[in-house]
């Protein structure tokens, strides 16, 4: 029985050393060139516009045009 112990220890050590040779994937899985984050909601999908894209676009247009001070003062 006692003669087997060194063999068992040697086998266990060999298994432990060989485990270091294995290679595990180190990086996350993602598709190249494709957004891999969380999905976003669009600006009109919220409390203010409640999905009305047209209303949002009109609001934006009004705001952008208001930046032209020539139009505002004339």
């Amino acid at each position: 029985m006692t003669t087997r112990i060194p063999y068992v220890i040697a086998a266990a050590l060999a298994a432990a050393f060989l485990a270091g040779c294995s290679e595990q994937p180190q990086v996350g899985k993602f598709e190249q060139g494709k957004y891999a984050g969380k999905a976003d909601t669009r600006p009109w999908e919220g409390g203010t516009f409640k999905g009305d894209k047209g209303a949002w676009e009109q609001a934006q247009r009004n705001r952008v045009r208001a930046q032209n001070e020539y139009k505002r003062v004339e």
């Binding site: 984050g37 969380k38 919220g46 203010t48 516009f49 934006q60 705001r63 930046q67 001070e69």
Partner: protein, 201 residues
């Protein structure tokens, strides 16, 4: 669909840094991070020009191309945003960006110690529920979802900084340039705002 852009009129920018302050305050941007800054060329010399710079929301954004975790994206409106939850702070986007837009809260530090990238969101928040506290904490206020424009542009006292749909901005700028004409002054009020109607007659 709108193609959101910034346009800075170098003839009008007076380097007041109002845009920088407005941005920092609106989004409660942490110390060390400046989503927007004013760059002046030939400072103090007659003919100096200033330009307010932030993320330019490129149509073909290099930051999106280099992000190793693919967490930078472009919305339908052309705004370049990113998901902070997936950001590993590698800094590739910073190296790729020609405008130095990506910022890191812990400044220049080793990989893993910089923190998650932060940049101008065109006041469009990020991938969280519109107007939620989580969105504000990570990305700042979502003014676009409120039907407003980025505060830096809306705050600009001389209307040097414009924001919005590229076509509309082009119309505004074209109108401005036509009125401005080509004066003898290299810079100054006349160049920036054009002549008075009565004076021009």
């Amino acid at each position: 669909m709108a193609r959101m852009k910034f346009l800075c009129d170098a003839e009008r920018c007076i380097e007041c840094n109002g845009c920088v302050t407005a941005c920092k305050n609106e989004h409660e941007v942490p110390w060390g991070v400046n989503r927007r800054r004013v760059v002046t060329i030939n400072d103090g010399v007659p003919g100096e020009r200033s330009m307010s710079v932030a993320c330019m929301h490129c149509s073909d954004a290099p930051c999106i191309a280099v992000c190793p975790t693919n967490v930078i994206y472009q919305t339908e409106e052309g705004v370049v945003l990113h998901d902070k939850d997936g950001c590993i702070g590698c800094g590739y986007c910073f190296y790729a960006c020609p405008f130095g837009a990506p910022q890191f809260p812990n400044g220049p530090a080793a990989f893993g110690a910089r923190g998650k990238m932060d940049k101008c969101t065109f006041c469009a928040g990020g991938p969280e529920e519109n107007g939620s506290q989580a969105e504000f904490d990570k990305y700042g206020r979502n003014r676009l979802a409120e039907g407003k424009l980025p505060l830096c542009a809306e705050m600009c006292s001389t209307k040097a900084l414009l924001a919005g749909d590229a076509t509309e901005l082009s119309d505004i700028f074209r109108d401005r340039v036509l009125r401005r004409g080509k004066g003898v002054e290299a810079w100054g009020w006349m160049t920036a705002y054009g002549k008075d109607k009565e004076e021009a007659k």
